[in-house]
Symmetry: C2
Subunit: 303 residues, 2 copies
């Protein structure tokens, strides 16, 4: 793998066509290996032997021990992402009289939390998690499903945004727009999301049309795209939390400070979002959970 | 470095005493290198040669290009961390009549945002940033200053917590405690902070007393400590944002929806916190900004 992760492949490497079939995304998530030559008192031969030995140990220990941790974290992440959507649906349907469109601005507002959590948390979160779930799959399929789930998030976000604008403008008297921290943060989050979507779509799918020429560029973009993706998710969670705080304090009849049933549901929803941020960060940043070893397998299968 | 980053050093390696002087913290932030042997069509000799060549290239390119990006990001992070503290101080002193202790619960509350931002954002953030600023320093000094800055955060957090409890309990009529999302999130953040502090203190400083025996354990703990550290920072930022939202909506005479001067200052403070989360995430997660190459230098100097 040392020689496949570089955007500047060595001339002796496997042909680029192979490199392209399993695009350079995953290995580039790991830093360039071996910044330094081996210590002076280690002969190259012995170092290499020790290295190989350790690698096999690592592989075995992953198969035995870390799989349990991996499955636990991924399962927990999925439960939390779906759980947040279920909780917000329950809250809106059971305590806030469900949905409507422009004929009832108060009920139209209810679309906003549900669609924003569906788009920014459940779909986007699951889409990012695919890069961990799909450890054993062909990378191009993971990419496609990553794009599809993010594409599903787009209409949710757009309709959720229209719903809150409508519910403000059609209210009697109209409610002012874009003054609260929640709205400012929402703007930043939507902007980052749109930027990530456009950059990701063009760089990792469209540019595949000239695979060889763009491999280096695409590979160098991966860590930036991944970092900003996680960041957008965290910002989305933070924006949800400010929105829920706003709603909890502003809703008449909620009696937030008396910890009514509805207040506890809102706080539980918020803590689910916090937990999902924690578990997602762990799942996505944990070095050991990253994609590994796929390129060697595909090289071997075609040699 | 391939041979120095492992928690299980090879028998041929430089003596452990050297390893201990530059403790195993930094290299372990990078994943174990080389999960796979080189591709079958690359001979070990040529791969190694290419590897070395690429390493020197990397070093040079860092010296030329990435230093500017690194300095820019670190400077921006420091400006934002200090800027948040300056803004919250300005807000409290100029718009909220400054500080008091138990004789005036309303003014005692003002200690809460200032001390929490000082502790959780400015001191903790700078403390984490030290691992990027101190790229060229002896690791043990960076560790010590990391501990000192986190230790400075502890009294801030404790007094900030007492201030908000007092301001609720001594108010007339008393304000209820621990119902809001902000308070729940504050609990989680403080708990994670305390856990990280205790685990970090014992694992990375106290366990140094038997360095050799604990090297593997300490090294394996580093990525977990780093991930949860970044997470605690993000949670702290999210908690601040819910707190500011609460304050903005609940403060009489603030006229939040009319975007008064004070409302804009609060939103600007919040957006500074969001920006600091973004820049800190970038500075801490960017692979290229991580500690590199220190062990070789110290091995060479003593050989």
């Amino acid at each position: 793998m040392d020689n496949t992760v570089s955007p500047m492949p060595l001339p002796e490497m496997a042909p680029m066509a192979e490199f392209d079939k399993t695009p350079p995304t995953p290995p580039e998530e790991e830093p360039p290996p071996g910044d330094l030559p081996p210590p002076p008192n280690v002969t190259p031969g012995s170092a290499e032997k020790g290295q190989k030995h350790r690698n096999y140990d690592d592989e075995n220990s992953w198969a035995c021990g870390n799989w349990f941790e991996f499955l636990l974290v991924v399962a927990l992440a999925i439960i939390l992402l779906v759980g947040a959507l279920v909780l917000v649906l329950f809250w809106v349907l059971y305590y806030r009289q469900g949905f409507a469109w422009t004929e009832n601005p108060t009920l139209e507002f209810n679309l906003h939390p549900v669609l924003m959590i569906a788009g920014f948390i459940t779909f986007s979160g699951f889409s990012m998690l695919l890069y961990r779930i799909g450890r054993c799959c062909r990378r191009i399929y993971v990419k496609l499903f990553h794009t599809i789930f993010h594409a599903l998030a787009v209409p949710c976000v757009v309709v959720g945004f229209i719903a809150v604008l409508d519910s403000h403008n059609l209210a009697n008297p109209p409610i002012r727009n874009f003054y609260s921290l929640h709205s400012w943060m929402g703007f930043v989050t939507m902007g980052l999301f749109a930027l990530q979507f456009v950059v990701g779509f063009f760089s990792f799918l469209i540019l595949l049309c000239c695979e060889n020429a763009t491999a280096g560029f695409r590979a160098s973009l991966v860590p930036i795209h991944a970092t900003f993706g996680i960041l957008t998710f965290m910002l989305a969670v933070a924006t949800c939390l400010t929105g829920l705080t706003e709603k909890a304090f502003l809703t008449p009849g909620l009696f937030y400070s008396f910890m009514t049933e509805e207040a506890i549901i809102i706080n539980a929803l918020a803590m689910t979002l916090v937990a999902s941020a924690i578990v997602m960060a762990y799942a996505l940043l944990r070095e050991g959970f990253r994609y590994s070893g796929h390129i060697l397998v595909s090289v071997q299968s075609e040699m």
